[in-house]
């Protein structure tokens, strides 16, 4: 019995939150990696682009709520996803045409494009703050929990309760669907294959008649979908605040590089590596160990490896370690 209780403690406080957070990071990381693989630059506007898409979801959710549309027990925000994605893609294409295209055609070095993306970051941040303001917003409605701790305790008679928030379930399910469709698209369709070819070797791809304009267009569309969905899922789970989204760029970068930048599978995996490392290293294992160890060995401290303040620092340290020992990432990078 103690063993089951211990597992449930672990599930409740580490594994489920880590899976959720990891899914959100993974979507962002695939976005970074796609841009890096195909357009060949580190996009410093990642966090703010995600924030931009989410902003429309938030505004539309408020609008839908005001005219009385809702999605039953699911959050209204899910209904707004197509519209938000549409706006996001429009914005991304506009930015691409006005800003990035010039440098792409000129074949500027990647650093130049990264620097340009810093400019895009500033502008996007300004637009977001001017439209919606910098404050914290919650836009979750509908059923909050799928499984409540008390219900679970009654059901099973265990001492520990298991809580599953609906946002956690939604995040994991939506991520699986989106990522599955994307990998199917990249691997099985002709357009997906041409994108991979373009990423592997641009000149060779051009020689074999692949239209670079189309590849770039599709890349931005997929990027828009990933960024918006990732942003909305994060916002539903925590809350929407532009500054936090900007900061999320850092663990997302870490995830993309840890997995091997340019490699979507790696990025997907990297998201979970970062999330699990952050949560496992900062979790206080006292309650878990109380169930497992005999009473005489019971720990008197929190049994926490690192304080939760260092959550971000952990993911960055992992990144630094990976960069030193395996600069191409856990999986071989720069292939899609």
């Amino acid at each position: 019995m103690d063993l089951i209780n211990a597992v449930i403690v672990l599930l409740n406080y580490t594994i489920i939150p880590a899976l959720t957070y990891g899914s959100q990071l993974a979507l962002g990381a695939i976005f970074v990696t796609l841009i890096y693989g195909i357009l060949r630059f580190a996009n410093f506007a990642t966090g703010d682009m995600m924030s931009f898409g989410t902003m429309f979801a938030v505004l539309l959710t408020y609008y839908f709520q005001s005219i009385g549309i809702n999605f039953g027990f699911l959050p209204t925000a899910l209904l707004t996803i197509p519209f938000a994605i549409f706006m996001m893609i429009l914005y991304m294409l506009l930015i691409d045409q006005t800003v990035f295209k010039y440098y792409r055609i000129k074949k500027s070095p990647p650093v130049m494009l990264a620097m340009v993306s810093v400019g895009v970051m500033f502008v996007t941040q300004a637009i977001i703050r001017i439209i919606i303001g910098p404050t914290d917003r919650r836009f979750l409605d509908g059923e909050k929990f799928i499984l409540k701790a008390t219900e679970f305790k009654e059901m099973t008679g265990l001492a520990e309760g298991l809580t599953i928030k609906s946002t956690q379930m939604i995040t994991i399910v939506v991520t699986i669907i989106v990522v599955a469709i994307m990998f199917w698209f990249l691997n099985k369709t002709k357009t997906g294959t041409s994108m991979r070819a373009y990423s592997d070797n641009e000149d060779l791809a051009l020689l074999s008649g692949i239209d670079p304009k189309k590849v770039v267009l599709i890349t931005w569309i997929i990027a828009g979908i990933l960024a918006t969905i990732g942003g909305i899922l994060y916002g539903l789970d925590k809350s929407y605040r532009p500054f936090v989204y900007f900061n999320n760029m850092l663990p997302i970068f870490a995830a993309a590089i840890v997995g091997g930048i340019g490699n979507p599978y790696g990025a997907f995996f990297g998201g979970y590596v970062i999330a699990f490392a952050e949560i496992f290293l900062t979790y206080a294992y006292k309650r878990f160990l109380v169930y497992l160890l005999p009473e005489s060995l019971e720990p008197n401290s929190l049994m926490q490896l690192l304080s939760t303040d260092y959550k971000f620092a952990i993911s960055f340290s992992i990144l630094v370690i990976v960069l030193i020992f395996r600069p191409s990432g856990i999986f071989e990078g720069k292939r899609i």
């Binding site: 630059f41 990264a114 620097m115 810093v118 637009i127 900007f246 303040d309 260092y310 630094v320």
Partner: protein
């Protein structure tokens, strides 16, 4: 002379703008902007050495700035004897253990061949060391943080003069740059950018959360100043006499003695703040000029030529027998040290150390915009970039407000869009800086004052 014409024109316009702020807003604001422009200029000089001279992209400016700030606290604040007696010995032991770890790792790296055994030994040293530190430091940190937590709760500093901390700030930053450079300099440009960005974030999070070191997010206030305090000035007779003499015409207009006294008091209060800021401005100017002379000399020395050669073609320079790795590390350290000095200057100017305020937006990306806008590889350009961008950053809100009012003049005061726009005026600074950066990158990628190579 003709070569310097554009520099002179650009600087004159900048000075004129600041003087205009002085006339239309107030001299105190103008001087604050000027001082911050100087600090930004020093940071930009540092970043420009790395990017402009050597082509190294360092997105970790925030980390070095924060370390410079930390140096001010550690050097100038008076020590807290209770905290030292509570946990000083333990903390010093930990420091000793860390140094021992470093040297033993070095010894192993030097004397044992590359093998699994070596890796295990190093891993063993690190793990044992960390466990020891956790056991020794844990209780000590708790005791130190318990010493009068509202006021101190940290070890305090050395109680030395604050100007000394500027040098120490540079040294701290140089130390960090050495470690970062050893780890990350081999990476490709955009990887290096991301790695430095994240390492800076680690440094700031350590400063934020290790309360025993510098109170963390509880901030250290009331730091020492290299300039007189306003309160002291307001009570010292020589200063009042000076103000009286300066404003005698205005004072003579007063009708009665009491009115004259009131006006004089107000003038003395204003003048004291201006005087303090002038003192800071003088100090900063000295630093900027010294750095400018040194960097300018370096740029046109054989060393500077070598750096440019390495930047433009690493392989060729390496084939000519230049040690690229060593030079990269050296210039990385040099640039970071200058940024560290700027960080110390900034904290001294503010008189308070607020680790919570170190954010990559303000301390990394804005500085980079300064470097790019001003002119990469040109020190005059870098300083000008610091001035222009900081000026825009500060004055964007008033400028935006002016334009919003102009364009929405026909709308009634209660119009929602107008109210919303006026409330979001502060955010136009991001827009202005972002668009400025994009335009410069597109139409004048070499910056306002481009790099100039003197042929000999």
């Amino acid at each position: 002379m003709r070569n310097y014409l554009n520099i002179i024109v650009a600087y004159s316009i900048m000075m004129l703008l600041i003087i205009l702020v002085g006339i239309f807003q107030s001299w105190s604001i103008a001087l604050t902007i000027f001082n911050y422009c100087m600090i930004s200029a020093v940071m930009t000089l540092g970043a420009n050495i790395q990017w402009g001279y050597a082509g190294l992209i360092n997105f970790g400016i925030m980390g070095y700035t924060a370390l410079g700030g930390l140096a001010v606290v550690l050097v100038s604040v008076a020590p807290v004897p209770e905290a030292w007696s509570a946990g000083g010995v333990n903390m010093m032991t930990c420091l000793g253990i860390i140094i021992l770890m470093i040297f033993s790792t070095r010894y192993i790296l030097k004397n044992i061949q590359k093998s699994n055994k070596r890796n295990y030994l190093i891993a063993g040293i690190i793990i044992v060391g960390l466990i020891l530190i956790k056991f020794i430091a844990g209780p000590a940190i708790e005791q130190i943080e318990a010493v009068d937590p509202a006021k101190t709760g940290f070890l305090g500093g050395l109680g030395l003069p604050v100007l000394f901390s500027w040098i120490v700030g540079g040294l701290f930053a140089a130390g960090l740059a050495f470690v970062v450079g050893k780890v990350a300099l081999g990476l490709r440009a955009d990887y290096l950018a991301i790695a430095t960005l994240l390492i800076a974030e680690i440094v700031v999070s350590i400063i934020k959360h290790e309360d025993w070191l510098a109170r963390g997010v509880k901030n250290v206030i009331g730091l020492k100043r290299p300039a007189p305090y306003e309160i002291d000035l307001q009570t010292s007779p020589w200063f009042i006499n000076l103000v009286e003499k300066f404003h005698s015409a205005k004072l003579d207009l007063a009708n009665s003695l009491s009115e004259r006294q009131d006006i004089l008091n107000q003038l003395v209060i204003d003048a004291s703040s201006v005087y303090v800021k002038l003192c800071f401005a003088g100090l900063f100017l000295v630093v900027v000029i010294i750095l400018l002379i040194i960097t300018q000399k370096a740029l046109y020395s054989p060393w500077g030529r070598m750096m440019r050669a390495i930047r433009d073609n690493e392989e060729a320079a390496s084939a000519m027998g230049k040690n690229v790795v060593k030079q990269h590390l050296f210039i990385f350290i040099l640039g970071s040290a200058i940024v560290g000095i700027a960080g110390a200057m900034m904290v001294t100017n503010d008189g308070l150390f607020t680790p919570g305020s170190y954010r990559p937006m303000r301390y990394t990306f804005v500085i980079w915009v300064m470097v790019i806008v001003g002119g990469t590889g040109n020190n005059f350009g870098a300083i000008l970039g610091g001035f222009v961008v900081w000026f825009l950053w500060v004055e964007a809100a008033p400028i935006a407000l002016f334009f919003i009012n102009l364009f929405t003049a026909h709308l009634p005061e209660t119009n929602e869009i107008k109210i919303h726009l006026i409330n979001s005026a502060p955010y136009f600074r991001f827009l202005l800086v972002g668009i400025g950066l994009l335009l410069i990158m597109r139409f004048r990628p070499q910056g306002i004052i481009p790099e100039k190579i003197i042929k000999q």
